[in-house]
Amino acid sequence: MKNNKRLIPFPIIQVACEGDTIAVHYILKHYEGYMAKLSTTVLTDEYSSGYYFLDRDLQDYLNSALLQMILDFKI
């Protein structure tokens, strides 16, 4: 495990699990980049040049999954 990993501060996790809006927003913001990375795919056309394509549906789906996970998380 990398030691320099950016982690969410403990108090924020604590209040987010109880449904605090600001904390939940902080966590969503924290994983925004990761979700964007997961939902990005490279599409190729007939000239085999690649395009980055961000799947909005997948992004929304991941967002809701993360929200569900935050509320289900038990310390």
Binding site: L7, I13, I27, L38, L62, F73
Partner: protein
């Protein structure tokens, strides 16, 4: 000095350290669960997309016959004219024909409704109305003529 006593440190001193350790563990756990959830939901999404893809078809690729089966038109009884003949309710869908039928005398209208909408024969109609069979035939034909002229006038 025994090695075990060498390592022994009082609990009070280490309480904040233990707290720190617990918090750090929770942080890592949270991060792990979050990332795992995201990756799993991504593959879930991909799989459900793939499953749905087998049942999808482009509108342009559907044959014309199949496409005609898709739309549904509602029918409202308010749009059509109702007539009562021999305790049956006869529904006339076409507005123009209903208008023409309204103008006919009742006897002729009943003949037409019975013959064309209830599917009765001339003999059955003559038995019902207690008139001669040829009278029914004449009535029907003159009624049709009347309807024809009425419809032509409208056009």
């Amino acid at each position: 000095m025994r090695p075990s006593s060498f390592n022994r440190v009082s609990l009070e001193e280490n309480k904040h350290l233990m707290q720190d350790d617990f918090q750090r563990t929770t942080q890592f756990q949270f991060d792990y669960v979050a990332r795992k959830t995201l990756i799993r939901s991504k593959s879930n999404y991909r799989r459900s997309r793939g499953r749905r893809y087998n049942h999808e078809a482009l509108f342009s690729e559907i044959s014309n016959i199949d496409l005609k089966m898709l739309p549904i038109f509602d029918t409202y009884h308010l749009d059509s004219q109702m007539y009562q003949v021999l305790s049956f309710n006869v529904e006339v869908r076409n507005n123009k024909i209903a208008k023409a039928l309204d103008m006919l005398p009742e006897r002729k209208r009943n003949t037409i409704l019975m013959f064309y909408y209830l599917g009765m024969s001339d003999v059955e109609i003559s038995n019902e109305l207690k008139v001669n069979r040829s009278t029914v035939y004449r009535n029907r034909h003159s009624a049709l003529e009347n309807v024809k002229t009425l419809l032509e006038e409208e056009l």
